[in-house]
Amino acid sequence: MNKTTIILSIVFLLLFPFVLKAQHKYESEYRMKSELIPQSAKRFIDSIGPDSKVKWYKEISLSGVSFEAKFKHKKKQFSIEFDTLGILQDVEFVIKKSEIAPKVYNKIEDKLDSLYQKWKFQKIQMNYVGSHNDLITLINKNEPSDAMKVSYEIVLKGKAPGNTQLFEITFNDQGEIQDIQQIVQDKADHLEY
């Protein structure tokens, strides 16, 4: 092992703990009137024929601006994201932990056990990225296509030594961590004092 390799290895080992260190998640969202939403986004939602009223939001985060439609359909809480041009980005819906395949759930559980002393799910969402037709079939018939990219977005309360925080963790369909973000909680002094 030459000197450069040793130095690079030390640097890598020093950096490694930070690879999975949570980034902070900042996000603001505003309710939008449907008249201000791009037509193509509205057409996509209309083609689903949601069971409930559709609420539109504009979301601003570090990754950019997007529009999101939230509604209930087939007894599921959906959230569908579009970019500012109305191009479909992804489809999300809330699931129970029992809906995660046992093999994947066990991997997620093992990973969370290694990261936190204690943890508790707050919310689990399935996230699908794919073609219009595949996503429509998924929404209406609950039949996911193999061509779609699937991930789990999990909001949980995680306790590390001396510190409990809220995190949003993204796992892929194999139960491997893709991303960790610490959710920045809003000030609540006006509620507390």
């Binding site: 603001s28 309710r31 309360k157 510190n163 409990t164 509620l191 507390e192």
Partner: protein
Amino acid sequence: MSAPKNVYAQSQTRIGILPSINYNHKINKDWDVNFKYESRHFVFENNSLESSNFKYEYSLSDISALVARKAGLNSKFVLGFLTRIEPDAVSYRTIQQFIFQTKIESFRVAHRIATDQTFSSNEATEFRLRYRVSAEIPLSGQKLDVKEFYFKFNTEVLNSIQDNVYDLEFRIVPNIGYVINGQQKIELGLDNRFESFINNQTSLISWITINWFL
């Protein structure tokens, strides 16, 4: 900052100014401090037995300091001290609180369980046990952001005992608030206080309040 006071049991209406400035400072991830200044200035009085008139009258000032220690992700223990300054008297209050937050759909709810003890030279010590629920409903979107309005609803039940006399009070306080920036909020509300429930001599006192959080 202004407050009408309607004491129906006494057929009396009083209107006043009630400014409150509430400063919160985070020391580190576990500790924060809160300082509050509130004063009452009556400007109008209407008594059915006498004439009604506009008359300025300073009533009192409350200055408080609280220290909070985070207990969990959404809970904290609070200890504090309040000084009440009236034209002819000063009283002191020690405060203990436990506050925790929950979230129901898109609104946050804070629960406050508190005890306090008020000491003054001319009255017996008053002991109170109180529970308050405060709910915040953003008026734009699912969470509260800068330059957005919100609705806040407080309701509180207060038990008090002084000189072996027990009393019960309810407060219902709807507020409209606005987030000025990341640090500041301003609220306009109506503070309705139903007092003396136990003695069957219930009186309602209503205050219009303006709170500035910074």
